[in-house]
């Protein structure tokens, strides 16, 4: 059940909020991301994602550009939809 809500970060469209759940791609990659603020459990917003090319996320007041193949390795839970449903 839980797992079904988890998607890769690159699938989210601009304006959606989410929470980082898993970081794939090795320790070095993960430790670079967490040092910039994208740690497990952090909430973020997608600022730019055009369906191809890199994406921009806003996390802990920081805008981070991620290559598409990097975004692919970040497993997240989408938040906004849930909020909208409760409204």
């Amino acid at each position: 059940m839980e797992e079904q809500k988890f998607v890769s970060l690159h699938r989210l469209s601009p304006g959606t909020h989410g929470i980082v759940r898993r970081l794939q791609g090795g320790k070095e990659f993960a430790s670079r991301l967490v040092a910039m603020g994208l740690s497990i459990g952090s909430e973020f917003e997608i600022l730019q994602n055009r369906g191809s090319g890199p994406v921009i996320v806003l996390v802990r007041d920081t805008r981070i550009a991620l290559g598409r193949s990097e975004a692919l390795k970040i497993v997240v839970e989408e938040l906004e939809r849930e909020r909208r449903e409760t409204e």
Binding site: E28, A30, V34, I56
Partner: protein, 687 residues
């Protein structure tokens, strides 16, 4: 340390020496884009000394300042997000703290993104050094509705917290005063240190016990244990060498069992940060659209962003040609040539070879070095402006998708583009690329970008041989260079650099007004570093080539250079070139534009009353001309570029690899072009 000696020896009296004997060493740390260099420049001013970290390609900047009669030596540490050895910068910062034992660390944080910034603090606090926290960009934070109570934060962290607006020189002297105070009384430093999360506390203790007495100073068991759990490669290697095999295998087994610890440790640090800032920071979610987001709608747009990028670089080139090129010409004609004239008339008594050596060999070399300066000044100013305003990150973002084809990412675009002006700043500019392999690949590819000197050769020679079709031929040859660059990039990426995919992760800083002082320092430091590093090599090469073209006789046609060129005629014939064209190619090694001057000497000598253009058009066939131009465009880089390439890679192996690669490519393309033309029967009749 040598600086301290140097400065104290300048003191006039013994009391001065005594008073300055104790120099406080301050390490200036911080994440990237926090205004650290602004603070460094403000406090150290002209006392700066720029070098390299021993054995590293990263710059080391130091400066002295005096605060209330106490001397402080400020060391600007590279900007790093954390202290896990992912990059050279991170290793430098922590090695500096562990091995050079500074008296105090001043950590600068961006107040508008405080939580992320404090991650570095969480790492610094587990190292044995007192820390002062400077909160910079308080004005930016306020503008975003973020309110910070420094005293509350100070109480929570248990260390001095100073608020700053470095761009307006606010709070900087208070920061230095706090650092100096803490350095003098380090015993009172009792900060709140982050603790490892509960699930891993036990394993941390176990690893620490296993490490036991094996950890040598200055390392400490608890820090080593923490880094081992974080999977730090450098520390893992070290611990493996410190421990007996049996103990190491127990440690390795424990680490394998807790492989997930790295993420928990990071989350634990952020939980600690959240506790620290809870009472001190009011951070409303305003939901307003910031200036940065508004500008980014255009700047990172796939179409408008690309257009903006082209406009920006158009502007840089326009500036180069309207500002730098005339100054370069002026320097050449009014300074260098006049000096050469003066020197020549002063040396009429001396043997002619000596006069010629000094006038043409030495001063000619100096001239080449000096005339690089205006172009470098324009390019580095543009680079600093784009970087300082925050635009550079957007340019990298826009270009990322295209650079992936070459096995590079967005950050490599800028240095390569600078190459159109001059390959030297392109190679130096590759420093902006985070990963070692990405930087190296960018440096290796940079000489394939046709620089302005080669574009000048095209502009001068294509009309001579191709008349109306000159523009088309020029575009074709420039495109050929780009095509070869792409092919070499893709090939190297799949062979030499295979599996070294550099992750594109980059902070997009907020836009802000540039700091002119920082830009001035940046431009000066880079030009000075070029003069210092490349200058001597260029001078040396210039003198050697002068000697080769002047001995044994004074006539270039009988010189060693000409003989060497003649010995290469078998290769030249494959490309349709006679020895004169080969010598012109060889002479372009000092500086690309030399090819024109050499052609002038070799073809102008015998043919009285005819200009170089007419003579060459009559003697050289279009097929030969095309192959000559293509080879010139792709040929080994000039001496300045080679010198800088070596200085930046610190490896003759890579430098020679690239030079050889370019030589082989250039000759192959030359042969193919000429033979294809010959086979098709095009343009060979003129020969």
């Amino acid at each position: 340390m040598s600086d301290a000696k140097q400065n104290s020896s300048k003191g006039s009296s013994a009391t001065d020496l005594e008073r300055h004997e104790q120099t406080i060493v301050v390490g200036l740390a911080g994440q990237p884009n926090v205004g650290k260099s602004t603070i460094f420049n403000l406090t150290t001013g002209l006392s700066q000394h720029v070098g390299n970290w021993p054995g590293k390609t990263v710059e080391r900047k130091e400066g002295m300042l005096v605060h209330q009669d106490i001397k402080l030596r400020l060391v600007d540490l590279p900007g790093t997000y954390s202290l896990t050895a992912n990059s050279e910068e991170e290793r430098i910062t922590r090695d500096f703290i562990l091995h050079e034992r500074p008296d105090v660390i001043v950590m600068i944080a961006d107040a508008s993104a405080l939580e992320r910034n404090l991650y570095l603090l969480a790492e610094l606090l587990v190292l044995p050094v007192p820390v002062v926290l400077g909160l910079n960009m308080m004005d930016v934070a306020e503008a975003q509705g973020i309110h910070i109570e420094p005293h509350v934060l100070e109480a929570a962290l248990g260390l001095p917290v100073i608020t700053l607006v470095a761009a307006r020189n606010q709070g900087v002297s208070e920061l230095i005063a706090a650092a100096e105070r803490l350095a003098r009384e380090p015993a009172g430093f009792k900060p709140t240190r982050p603790k490892i999360a509960e699930p891993h506390r036990e394993v941390l203790a176990q690893v620490r016990t296993l490490l036991g007495q094996y950890v040598p100073a200055p390392y400490r068991e608890d820090w080593v244990a923490l880094k081992l759990l974080e999977g730090d490669m450098e520390i893992t290697e070290k611990a493996r060498s410190w421990l007996p095999d049996a103990d190491w295998s127990s440690v390795a087994a424990l680490l394998k069992e807790h492989e997930d610890a790295v993420l928990d440790i990071a989350s634990g640090r952020y939980e600690w940060i959240a506790r620290m800032v809870r009472a001190a920071v009011i951070h409303p979610r305003l939901g307003q659209i910031s200036v940065t987001d508004r500008l980014d709608r255009f700047a990172v747009h796939p179409f408008w962003g690309l257009l903006l990028l082209l406009a920006m670089f158009g502007l840089v080139f326009w500036l180069t040609f309207t500002v730098a090129t005339p100054i370069q010409h002026w320097l050449d004609v009014y300074v260098i040539e006049r000096l050469q004239g003066l020197l020549a008339s002063g040396l009429t008594e001396a043997p002619s070879w000596l006069a010629d050596l000094l006038v043409n060999g030495v001063l000619g070399g100096v001239g080449i070095v000096v005339t690089f300066v205006p172009i470098l000044a324009v390019f580095f100013t543009a680079l600093a402006l784009l970087e300082d305003t925050g635009y550079l990150a957007r340019a990298a973002y826009v270009m990322d998708r295209f650079m992936h084809f070459l096995g590079l990412h967005g950050k490599s675009f800028l240095p390569l583009f600078l190459g159109f002006g001059c390959n030297v700043p392109a190679i130096m500019g590759a420093r902006v690329i985070g990963s070692q392999s990405g930087r190296l690949l960018t440096i290796l590819l940079a000489p394939l970008v046709p620089c302005s000197a080669r574009l000048l050769i095209l502009a001068l020679l294509t009309p001579v041989f191709f008349g109306n079709q000159a523009l088309m031929v020029s575009w074709g040859l420039v495109s050929l260079n780009i095509l070869v660059l792409a092919i070499v990039g893709i090939t190297l990426n799949h062979t030499v650099f295979r599996g070294q995919h550099a992750a594109f992760i980059m902070e997009m800083p907020l836009y802000h007004l540039p700091n002119l002082r920082s830009i001035g320092h940046f431009v000066w430091n880079n030009i000075w570093s070029f003069l210092r590093k490349a200058g001597t090599i260029i001078l040396l090469v210039s003198v050697v080539v002068w000697a080769l073209s002047n001995f044994p006789g004074s006539d270039i046609e009988q010189s060693y250079l000409a003989r060497f060129g003649q010995s290469l005629t078998p290769i030249g014939q494959l490309m349709g070139m006679d020895w004169r064209l080969i010598v012109a190619l060889l002479s372009s090694f000092i500086a690309k534009e030399n090819a024109i001057a050499t052609l002038g000497i070799l073809y102008g000598a015998g043919e009285e009353g005819r200009g170089l253009a007419e003579t060459m058009a009559a003697v050289v066939s279009p097929a030969t001309a095309l192959s000559f131009l293509a080879v010139t465009m792709l040929f080994i880089p000039c001496a300045a570029t080679v010198a800088v390439m070596y200085k930046e890679t610190r490896s003759w192996r890579w430098t020679l690899f690239d030079v050889t690669l370019l030589l082989v490519i250039a000759l192959t393309v030359g042969v193919i072009i000429y033979q294809a033309a010959h086979w098709l029967g095009i343009g060979v009749s003129g020969a």
